[in-house]
């Protein structure tokens, strides 16, 4: 929930929201000030009838000689009264009912939820119509009737808000420390949950205005008030003679209702800024031609990354998620990239495959795959109008994603998805050949063949993860990038999946890049480890060296902070401060603010990459000194 002032600022930044807010406020102002505007009495039949707009009567007069402008302005009063009255009433009832249903659950929730459902199934306009037809059509009754049919809308929103808030830790904590249910609802749940209902209130207001107008148009409006619907109702008979009588109130209603709806939409966007930019197709990016001097070398590393940079734009902030990463991997190697959340390890993975989000940009760097440039000076390399990476995707570079529930399309069977992937890259292959290949990889990974006809949701987490591995292997790629492949799984399954990845890599001579936050997972699966901190690889070495003789103080701190099951108990080391995201130009070493050993040199000068032993580099001014000093647990 945003503070009101911040919300207002956000609203005013968006021209549409700002305009609609202005229009709503304007309507409110003239509705309140109507009696003081010196307008002719809206009911007075003083002027000549059927006067067209202009002159003394800006919007003309109607068939009784009443001033249309005055009637439209007085109509605003009625429209807003109905809108505010019925919205307030339905929100009041809705919040109470929704809170009770969501909070107490059980039979109360069953009864109330079913009531909401019944109202969803009733065409509410006809219910309102029936009520008004039976009970008479005073403005108050119209408001009550609208509220009576609209409250379940607020109640449903409130209920789902309460359901999600109820499990929030602060609500649980309040209850656990002795707060009563009513105290918790009033203090924590309603204030935090009411935002979306207020937002929806603007839409409710629009609906109420349209409903009242519809009733009036059917001749069921309040006979004593000047409502827009009634004006159109009366004006339609004079449509040929005096169209202005019905045009003006319609335009007024359209403007007010649209403003209310747009305002609601604007508030919604301001509260959930990610909503506006979610999804979408990948943006076209400027491309580069392949370098002229590119000649295939007999033995080239499978992947060479040089000074890769990737920057996210979040609002006005620029986050350098990958801030100059370089490494080279020989064919058949396995590299673990470890780091804490936000260090850029996952961004690095997607940067290699060039599947970066739309708010990310390559800001520099070169990537060569098997000697061929696929990224050159921060631009994807394209050849004859086609990106080079496209020819490599899946057939030579594939990925294993974290098997969240939705890593595979939930509405198609696994076989269909895998067959589609195979045939995309082997257009000549038939369905039977593709299915045979699916069976082959299923055997390889140890999933019973008949499971390929299952839908993703029918598999357990471990099975789904194995399926993701099978999918990544279906085209016999050279390089597999596994991004947190076991994170969502239970310990026993995690261990098994890692063992399988390791086994397959050796068997198929794959090159593996394993991105993980888990030092242990990487330790056993990879030959090399790269430690990332704030967008850079701060240390890279063979696995045994990283864990045996870490030479960057950050790597040391990470290892010393891990509890162990084996060996003597020792107090875990702690790191002061929190990891940071590199948003601006960094002076000196990026780890210096948290480093116990930082000196003035570290705070002013960026450390060089120090080569220590074969394949071991560390970005620290004092790397050599640390390398000479073994880890204390082995001392």
């Amino acid at each position: 929930m945003l503070a009101p002032r911040r919300l207002l600022t956000l609203l005013l930044q968006n021209p549409t929201s700002a305009a609609s807010l202005f229009l709503v406020l304007f309507a409110l102002a003239i509705a309140i000030l109507a009696p003081f505007l010196g307008l002719p009495d809206p009911g007075q039949m003083a002027a000549k009838p059927y006067l067209p707009p202009g002159g003394e009567h800006w919007l003309g007069t109607d068939n009784f000689g009443r001033d249309v402008l005055s009637r439209v302005i007085w109509g605003t009063r009625v429209a807003l009264l109905v809108a505010v009255g019925s919205a307030a009433l339905s929100i009041l009832v809705g919040v109470i009912a929704g809170s009770l249903a969501g909070y107490y659950g059980g039979w109360l929730d069953s009864v109330l939820s079913r009531t909401f459902d019944v109202f969803l199934l009733i065409p509410t306009f006809f219910l309102v119509l029936l009520i008004v037809a039976l009970f008479g059509s005073s403005l108050t009754l119209v408001m009550i009737a609208i509220a009576l049919t609209a409250w379940p809308r607020s109640a449903r929103i409130m209920r789902s808000q309460v359901l999600s808030l109820k499990s929030r830790v602060y609500v649980q904590a309040a209850l656990a420390s002795g707060a009563s249910s009513s105290q918790t609802i009033v203090k924590h749940i309603v204030p935090n949950g009411i935002g979306p209902i207020i937002t929806d209130g603007t839409i409710l207001m629009g609906l109420a205005i349209l409903t009242e107008a519809g009733l009036s148009f059917l001749g069921l409006g309040d006979q004593n008030s000047v409502s827009w619907g009634r004006m159109i109702f009366e004006g339609q008979r004079q449509l040929r003679l005096a169209p202005w009588i019905s045009i003006a109130p319609g335009v007024a209603m359209l403007i007010l209702v649209a403003s209310l709806n747009l305002l609601g939409d604007g508030i919604n966007h301001a509260l959930n800024p990610q909503m506006r930019s979610r999804g979408g197709a990948p943006r076209r990016r400027p491309t580069a031609a392949p370098p002229a001097d590119e000649s295939p070398r007999p033995v080239s590393p499978i992947i060479e990354v040089d000074n890769l940079r990737l920057t996210y734009s979040v609002g006005t902030r620029r986050i350098h998620a990958v801030d100059g990463v370089s490494f080279t991997l020989p064919r058949g190697a396995s590299l673990g990239i470890v780091g804490e959340s936000g260090c850029g390890k996952s961004s690095l993975g997607s940067a290699l495959l060039q599947t970066i989000p739309n708010n990310a940009d390559f800001t520099g760097g070169t990537v060569r795959f098997d000697g061929q440039s696929i990224l050159r000076d921060g631009k994807p390399v394209s050849e004859r109008g086609r990106l080079r990476i496209q020819a490599l995707r899946w057939s030579r570079i594939s990925t294993i994603f974290q098997s969240s529930m939705n890593a595979l399309n939930p509405v198609t069977t696994i076989r269909k998805q895998m067959v589609a992937a195979y045939r995309l890259h082997r257009p000549k292959a038939g369905d039977a050949e593709a299915t045979a290949r699916v069976a082959e990889v299923f055997d390889l990974i140890g999933i019973p063949r008949h499971r390929m006809n299952a839908y993703p949701h029918q598999l357990s987490g471990g099975m789904r993860q194995r399926t993701m591995i099978a999918l990544s292997l279906i085209l016999e790629p050279d390089l597999v990038i596994a991004d947190e492949p076991t994170t969502a799984l239970d310990m026993l399954i995690q261990d098994q999946i890692l063992a399988e990845i390791d086994k397959l890599r050796r068997r198929l001579n794959l090159t593996l890049i394993l991105v993980s936050h888990d030092m242990g997972a990487v330790a056993e699966t990879c030959e090399m480890v790269a430690v990332m901190y704030a967008g850079r690889i701060v240390e890279m070495a063979p696995t045994a060296v990283i864990f045996g003789n870490p030479s960057h103080p950050y790597t040391r701190a990470l290892i010393d902070a891990l509890p162990s099951l084996r060996g003597p108990m020792k107090t875990l080391a702690t790191l002061p401060g929190e990891a940071f995201q590199p948003t601006e130009t960094i002076v000196g070493c990026r780890f210096a603010p948290r480093c116990r050993h930082a000196t003035d040199l570290c705070r002013t000068e960026a450390p060089p990459s120090v080569a220590l032993s074969s394949g071991h580099t560390a970005e620290c001014h004092y790397a050599r000194a640390f390398a000479a000093e073994p880890l204390r647990e082995h001392a």
Partner: protein, 339 residues
């Protein structure tokens, strides 16, 4: 040995399947889900007992019952010698002063609309303790204790301004401000980054030695449990399959499941490649608890007897027990896959 503080005995928790519309008319409801299936556990005063288990093992539910956030279907909760299972009203409120909770997700730990000081001071306000001035002083003192310094500055900030580690420290402060006798901590560090995690764990240990409360520490990570706890209880599908003093349980586990859990923890020391045990069967059963030994569907050494007879707890000495027909064997020889 110190005296028992929390005693859980014979706890069962069965969740009714959701209230469907039809059940309103037919009065029938589907079979329930058994989350906790006969648990007995003792937390001793001033000690830390850890519950280790995978997701779905019932460890969180056990914690929620111990704090009386949920009432068990069967069994009793005793606190400080007194049966508190059915407490309500003022007595329940008194109980809540004694037993506090720390939760997993620090980002949702504090009401986003309240300042850190207001949130941390809320328990004092709820229990009408002290004047506003005294409460403020207490809040500042406890914030300093959890190393949120300068406390004055932190007290007036909002949760959105704090990092995950700082939020969890604030949540710990809120749990400790009433000086409870017991704190139930449900995965308090699993959502934090490694470099921040150890700081919170060390803080919890330091506060315990200073203030003397007991912890019931719930985690999926055996290494974390070893670091934090005097005793460990391993849960699988709603039951405690092994329980014992930390070092003994890890060094000489008597249940194959514990052995598997230990073997699944990767070793990050140089060169130490461990022997992996291949596990039969898939993830936890979602439909129900198997007959016989609840672990037999995945156990690499399951025998015919395991499929039919539910094992009772076998004592392995010095308060170390395992619910396996072959516990003594496993404790002595480790996992031996039967020919």
């Amino acid at each position: 040995m110190t005296k028992p503080l929390i005693e859980l005995s014979g706890l069962r928790m069965v969740y009714e399947s959701s209230h469907s519309f039809m059940s309103m008319f037919t009065g029938r409801s589907g079979p329930g889900v058994t989350a906790v299936d006969g648990i007995s556990l003792t937390v001793r005063s001033g000690e830390t007992t850890a519950i280790v288990g995978e997701s779905g093992s019932g460890k969180t539910t056990t914690g929620r019952i111990a704090t009386l956030q949920e009432r068990p279907t069967a069994g009793t909760v005793r606190f400080d010698g007194e049966d508190v299972t059915d407490l309500s009203g003022a007595a329940l409120k008194r109980f809540r002063r004694q037993v506090q909770m720390i939760f997993q997700n620090p980002y949702e730990a504090l009401d986003p609309r309240l300042t850190i000081g207001q949130s941390v001071g809320e328990p004092l306000r709820l229990h009408h303790l002290g004047s506003p001035g005294e409460r403020r002083a207490k809040v500042l003192k406890i914030l300093a204790e959890v190393e949120l310094r300068p406390a004055e500055a932190y007290a007036d900030r909002y949760p959105a301004d704090l990092s995950g580690g700082q939020l969890q420290r604030a949540a710990i402060a809120r749990a400790l401000i009433l000086e409870p006798k017991a704190v139930i901590a449900d995965e308090p560090v699993s959502m934090l980054d490694v470099s921040v995690r150890s700081g919170v764990m060390n803080l919890m240990r330091a506060l315990q030695s200073r203030m003397g409360m007991s912890y019931l520490y719930i985690t999926h990570d055996l290494a974390v449990a070893r670091y934090m706890a005097n005793r460990i209880a391993v849960m699988y599908l709603g039951a405690i399959v092994e329980e014992g003093p930390t070092e003994q349980l890890i060094a000489a586990s008597g249940h194959p499941y514990t052995r598997l859990l230990i073997s699944a923890v990767p070793e990050h020391h140089q060169g130490a490649r461990r022997r992996r045990v291949t596990l039969s069967g898939d993830a936890l059963s979602e439909t129900g608890i198997p007959a016989g030994c609840r672990f037999h569907t995945r156990c690499p050494m399951a025998q015919p007897v395991c499929r039919s007879v539910e094992p009772s707890r076998v004592s392995l000495g010095a308060g170390h027990e395992a619910a396996c027909h072959f516990a003594t064997d496993v404790a002595r020889n480790g996992l031996t896959v039967a020919a």
